[in-house]
Symmetry: none
Subunit: 124 residues, 4 copies
DNA sequence: GTGGTCTAGACCACG
DNA sequence: GTGGTCTAGACCACA
C-alpha cells in the first residue's frame, strides 16, 4: 500500500501524500479510517519520522486527513469533494494535452485510440 | 520570443529550454538557425550568463542545438526527432491520464468526448 | 450533561473542566453539589479514570471544586468568584479584539453595532 | 518587527506566522515585499532555520506569501483578501463573545463601553 | 548566497 | 503508545 521510490526526484513526503490521495480516490481508504502511526510508517519504510509527519501535515492542510494529537491520523469523511476536484483537474489536464497533441499533428482519432488502449490495458 | 517569468518556480534555464523547444516545434526556429549569443541573451533578459550557458548546454545535450565554438549555437536540422520525441512523451502522458480517469470512474466515452471538445474548441 | 467530543483537539480533561465550568455558570450546578465519582464518570464516558481525575484536580486547583477524601468532589459555594473571573477574562478578550478590529480599519461604531446585533439576536 | 516570546506556549513557528500576518494587516509589509531570508531570520532570533522555514511554509500554504526557491520569500500582492477574511473572523469572534458576555449578565452598554475604552486607549 | 529535503535525536503533552 | 515542536547538522539545486 504505502511505498516509496528512493530514486525518484519527488520528495519522500510528497510521494506519501500521493500514496494516500490515490488510496482515498480508489476507495482503499475512506471516512474515518486510521492511517498508520507516524512512528510505525516511518519504521516500515525505513525513513525518518519527521518526513512522515511532514506528509501527514500536508494532507491535513489539504483537507484530506484530520489529526487528533495523541490519537492518530484519520481520513476525512467528506471524500466526495476530493473526487470532484480531482476529476476536474484531470479533465483540465486532458484539454491541455489535447492542444499539444493537435499542435504536433496528431489527429483526434489517434489520441482517442491512445486513450482506449490505456483504458483496456488496465483491465488485465 | 525569449521571455522569463521571474516569479515562476521553474528554474530560469529550464524556462529557456522550453522557450527554444516550443519555438522549434512551432516552426519559429528551424534547421541551422542561430540562437542569440550567450552574452546577448543574458544581457537582454537581465540574468546571469551562466544561466543562459546552462540552458544552451542542456539543449545541446538533448540534441536540439549544436555548438560551434567561437561561432555560436544553432538549431539542429533534424527537427523531426524532436517532434517524435515530444509526441511520444505526450502519448505517455495520455496513458497516465487514462488510468487516473478510469480509477475515478470516468468512462472511456466521457474521456474521448473531452478530447474531442478540446480539439474542436481550438478551431475557433 | 457531561459530554466529550472525541474528535476535538481539546484534551478530554480540558473538555471536562469546561463542562463543569459552564454548568456552574449556567446554574445547573451550584454550591456543595456533588460531582459524579471518578469511576462513575469515567465508565459513563468510556474514558480513562486518570483523565477524569486530572480534570477534577484541575478544577480543584482552580478553586471551583473541593474534594473530601473518601466522600467525593463538590462544587465550591462561592460561585461568585468564578463569575467574576470569567467576566474579567471575557472583557480582556474584548479589549484584544478591539485592538485588532481597529487595526483593520473597523470603526468603533461598527464594532458596537456588531455587539448589539449579537445581543439582540440571542433574544429570539 | 520580528519577535519571539520564548516563554509562550505558542510554538515559535506559529508566533512567526502571526508576526507576519499582523505586519501585513497593518501595512508594514505589502505586495512583493521580501521577507528576511530563512538563515538571516533564524540567526537574528537565535532559533533553528528549520523552525523559520516551517513558518514560511505555513504562510505560503495560507496564501500570504510566495516562495521562489533560491531567491527568497515575498508577500503576495493580493493582500485585500486577507484583510476581508480577517475582518470576518474577528466579527464572528465578536458575536461569540457577545453571547458569553450576555450569559454572564454583562449588559450591552457595559460591553460597548469596554470596546470604546480599548479603542481609545490605543490612541496613546 | 537562496530555499528544500532529510536524518538523528531530544523533550513535551496527552491517554 | 500517540502526535507536535525544536535543534543540529548534512546535502542538493539554483543564481
Amino acid at each position: 500500500m504505502f511505498s516509496i521510490d528512493y530514486k525518484s526526484r519527488l520528495p519522500f513526503y510528497e510521494q506519501l501524500v500521493e500514496n494516500v490521495k490515490s488510496m482515498v480516490l480508489s476507495g482503499v481508504l475512506s471516512g474515518d479510517d486510521p492511517l498508520p502511526s507516524v512512528r510505525q510508517l516511518s519504521s516500515d519504510l525505513g525513513i525518518n519520522p519527521n518526513t512522515v509527519q511532514k506528509a501527514y501535515a500536508a494532507l491535513e492542510q489539504q483537507g484530506i486527513v484530520y489529526t487528533i494529537p495523541g490519537k492518530g491520523n484519520f481520513i476525512r469523511p467528506d471524500t466526495e469533494a476530493l473526487r470532484a476536484e480531482q476529476a476536474q483537474a484531470l479533465l483540465r489536464q486532458l484539454s491541455d494535452l489535447a492542444l499539444k497533441l493537435k499542435a504536433l499533428g496528431i489527429t483526434l482519432r489517434q489520441a482517442q485510440d491512445g486513450l482506449a488502449a490505456a483504458f483496456k490495458e488496465d483491465e488485465g
